[in-house]
Symmetry: C2
Subunit: 339 residues, 2 copies
């Protein structure tokens, strides 16, 4: 029997990516999938060879006593599911966005701590190959002291079917920054550290959307670095299959990832080193498998999770500050203060 018995709650769009990631780990078994929609849960179970299909997570947790609850439901449901998991003594891997408010995030963090279970937010993007490569270049000192990072992610949905797999996104009052921008905020933190203040502009271009579909974030880091995040569901990249176009500058060199996926290392000493092409999307690449492996490794070794609840609360705080900034047209500090 596998060491870690996982129950997946939530069988929507993201579930197959989770199930595929669990399947790749040989000390993990997904013992059950759970969804209010039994048919959907059944489909996932059939596809991934999961034995049990359930619709009531509370009873399921009580009866099956999983070691891990993998929460892949919408944010509004996270507090009550995590409450049940903690009560059942299960560790939690919770899909982003972690929470709808900082108060809820705090509550979930406290709940897990009191129950003695561990909590990681499933922030998969920072596990993509391109971000790990950037992190390695920083760690090796290749770029010197970093001072600027820009991440651009454009995808075209204007005049096309809008999120056929995730129709709920159309109706979200907070859409792009909350659903997608949050990944990039996490990656900026992963590469540059903590965020001091945020300035954000957002637009809604697509009339089919309720919330924003263009975001431009200026993130001011505690260390003085500047991060720019621009994401957009209304325009194309040269190669839409790639993840992001990125520019990261330090005192010794710059890394450029173009919107055709090509990565170049432009060293200040004059050398230009081509690093190949990064065309792994964060859904279909190694991001989820690595995130899930990190979670299991953390459980086995006791090492901290990169994105535990407390860490991810900071990402969430910056995102919420972004909305406040866009609304008030002001520079906002994630801790709630005015800059």
């Amino acid at each position: 029997m596998a060491r870690w018995r996982v129950m997946l709650v939530g069988c929507g769009y993201i579930a197959p990516f989770h199930l595929a990631a669990w399947r790749g780990l040989n000390n993990v078994e997904v013992i059950a999938v759970c969804d209010l929609d039994e048919k959907k849960a059944r489909e996932r179970a059939d596809t991934f060879g999961v034995e049990r299909v359930l619709t009531d997570y509370e009873t399921a947790i009580r009866e099956l006593e999983p070691d891990v609850v993998d929460v892949a439901t919408p944010p509004a449901t996270h507090p009550e599911i995590i409450e049940a998991a903690a009560a059942g003594g299960a560790h939690v891997l919770c899909q982003k966005p972690f929470a709808e408010s900082l108060r809820e995030a705090d509550r979930m963090i406290t709940t897990c701590a009191r129950a003695g279970v561990r909590l990681m937010v499933n922030e998969n993007l920072r596990w993509s190959r391109v971000y790990r490569e950037l992190r390695a270049l920083l760690d090796q000192g290749t770029l010197g002291e970093p001072y600027y990072l820009q991440i651009i992610r454009d995808r075209l949905f204007l005049g096309k079917p809008l999120f056929p797999d995730q129709p709920f996104i159309r109706d979200m009052p907070r859409a792009m920054l909350y659903e997608v921008g949050i990944h990039f905020v996490d990656c900026v933190r992963f590469l540059l550290g903590e965020i001091e203040s945020v300035h954000c502009r957002m637009r809604r271009i697509n009339p089919q959307m309720r919330g924003e579909d263009v975001i431009v974030l200026s993130l001011n880091l505690v260390g003085g670095q500047v991060g720019i995040v621009k994401a957009d569901w209304c325009s194309r990249q040269r190669n839409d299959a790639i993840a992001e176009s990125i520019r990261l500058s330090g005192t010794e060199g710059t890394v450029v990832v173009s919107d055709d996926g090509r990565m170049s290392l432009l060293l200040n000493d004059g050398r230009t080193i081509e690093q190949g092409t990064f065309d792994e999307t964060y859904l279909e690449g190694q991001a989820f498998p690595r995130a899930h492996a990190h979670f299991i490794r953390g459980l086995e070794t006791g090492e901290p999770f990169e994105t535990d609840g407390r860490d991810n609360r900071r990402t969430l705080a910056a995102v919420l500050a972004g909305y406040e900034s866009a609304e008030r047209q002001a520079v906002v500090r994630p801790d709630g203060g005015e800059s």
Copy 2:
């Protein structure tokens, strides 16, 4: 005899670009060059076949009665030179940055208006091929309604001789935004319209500099569009000979100019149209010749200058708002108000 007799005041770094531009216009004659440093003035005169060399612009204007005074001196000297030109009945082409303060800008605008002479600020970058091409794509409706523009201009001076031709830049308390960023602010206005508010971060990376050498500007346009300007003297581009890398998105398509100079038109209907490579720098390309031709054409036809004093005051106001924003870490309106 040529129709327009021009006197150039200021024989520094930028003077040869002006003199070359005048030489290309067949109804213009540069009758004199003027500089406090007679040797420098003599060198420029010899190179460009100018007859007269002078050191005192006031006497020179009085005695030679030029039709045009081309002001290519530092901003602090603009008010008194423009005063003398206006008193002498000469039209003025004034090098950017126009003024050190809005009050000075206002004074020069009023002086010229009262004297009945015309005033244009020499904002050459908007005359570059790449910006004219973008303007044409917008005018033709190819991009639909524009909503996002980003301009990135990186050049590497870290660990290299710093501005050997313009050593004064090292000692300027306000350096990159005032000297270079101002061009991009003007280009954003040229393409998207007027600026409502500004958020700016700046850094000084190079210890040889007194002022800032990295700027990140977020420009919020009156029409709701967003402009990002990032310029940097501390990092490389893939091809340093090119001008900017640019991304301009509208509701029908996006134009991308990479940092290797390649321009692609990514239409939302799926077509990708390669527009060739734009590797004209704004100093050595057609920007100055076109700006100077526009000035002369305006004098001949009476048509307004794109960048007359009143227009360029708005660019200057946004730049000054940028400094205020960076200092106070706030969103600042160019008209002096808080956003």
